[in-house]
């Protein structure tokens, strides 16, 4: 724990940090603990020899086992995922919520503008009515009514081209999201103005500024073409 101790020590030595500064420090501290502790512990177990350090050594060993088990658990899960042949996506919370992935080894159906005829028809399992319609399709198509033709189309295809090209209204979600986050940022900025910024310097007050202007005019600052040149000294007003 040498690294983390030094870090804490340096923290306490520095000026009291503002609220805004502590979060990244806390995060980096946590990360340093989780990633640096196993290697540092391993290096100590090799060097520790004297009997006086027995108790601390046992403590370190215990922590080493704990962290090693955690690391081993992570590694084994990653290994299983790498070698799995089912192609199932690794869900973050284990076996319960695994999303179903399409089986790419069989002919697929798709609705695509640039590829009009997919590998298989949309409806594979036909009812008896559908089957008889399919039989009728083998005869002259002039004998089919409009509804039958439409039914045949819908058996083979899911969406028509018009339905594929239908506008989604996604832009509303995008624009709404943009405005929402801009608004949220505005709130954050507002909070910052009242809780983070230090008080205004007094030199920005109106009274002070007025006195400053008077002093500058009395000093004749830039009297030829600049500041004082714009002041009418006879009338006591700006030109």
């Amino acid at each position: 724990m040498v690294v983390s101790d030094v870090y804490l020590h340096s923290l306490s030595q520095s000026k009291t940090p503002t609220k805004a500064k502590t979060f990244p420090l806390a995060l980096s501290l946590f990360l340093s603990l989780s990633f640096l502790s196993p290697p540092t512990l391993f290096s100590w177990s090799v060097s520790a020899n004297s009997p006086s350090k027995d108790i601390t050594h046992k403590l370190k060993k215990a922590m080493q086992h704990l962290t090693a088990r955690r690391v081993a658990g992570l590694l084994s899960r990653r290994g299983v995922a790498a070698f799995s042949s089912s192609g199932v996506k690794m869900a973050s919370h284990g076996h319960g919520g695994v999303t179903e992935q399409t089986d790419m080894s069989v002919p697929l159906y798709w609705d695509r503008l640039d590829t009009p005829l997919p590998d298989r028809p949309y409806k594979d399992t036909l009812s008896d009515a559908d089957k008889s319609l399919k039989q009728k399709e083998k005869g002259p198509w002039n004998s089919l009514s409009k509804e039958e033709k439409l039914a045949l189309y819908r058996l083979t295809f899911n969406e028509t081209y018009a339905e594929m090209k239908k506008p989604t209204g996604e832009w509303k979600t995008v624009l709404g999201g943009i405005f929402f986050f801009i608004g949220f940022t505005g709130l954050v900025v507002l909070w910052q103005r009242y809780y983070v910024y230090p008080p205004h310097p007094r030199t920005l007050d109106d009274e002070w500024q007025a006195m400053q202007v008077k002093r500058m005019l009395d000093m004749r600052v830039n009297p030829v073409e600049g500041f004082s040149a714009k002041w009418d000294y006879e009338k006591g007003q700006w030109k």
Binding site: L113, D114, T115, P116, N142, K149, Y153, L155, E163
Partner: protein, 138 residues
């Protein structure tokens, strides 16, 4: 590439004393023959005219044709629609017409022309256009 052109140029200079062909005038275009539009069309008409065309070949041909940067000529589409008839697939025939309309993009005059040219075939085979079935709109 440039060096071979220069060598060729120098070679020609060595052979002909009077003709001064500049080496740089030899262009490096590919020597493959460019297919004319008529050859392209007839190739595709022949493809779809195969009597024992199967469903895979129809789909493959149609998807490839739609992948090209062009709207197929009515005669190619006529051949494809007849292939659909041989395969007893009315839905694909209507889908092909939809695809042609989509391929025309902003050029709205192409699709009515194609339908007008295909009208005798459509009537003969009994294929309804998407407009007649009402699926041209959502």
């Amino acid at each position: 590439m440039i060096s071979s052109a220069v060598l060729r140029g120098i070679g020609s200079l060595a052979r002909t004393r009077t003709a001064f062909t500049a080496p740089l005038a030899v262009r490096c275009y590919s020597h493959a023959k460019v297919e004319t539009d008529e050859e392209f069309d007839s190739r595709w008409v022949t493809y779809f005219s195969k009597p024992d065309l199967d469903t895979w070949e129809l789909r493959k041909g149609m998807n490839t044709l739609i992948g090209y940067d062009l709207v197929p000529e009515p005669k190619i589409l006529d051949s494809a629609l007849r292939a659909c008839r041989r395969l007893n697939d009315l839905a694909s025939a209507i889908r092909i017409l939809e695809a042609v309309k989509d391929k025309s993009g902003p050029h709205k005059e192409i699709y009515p022309y194609v339908i007008q040219e295909l009208r005798p075939t459509l009537q003969e085979l009994g294929i309804s256009t998407p407009e007649e079935l009402g699926i041209h709109k959502v």
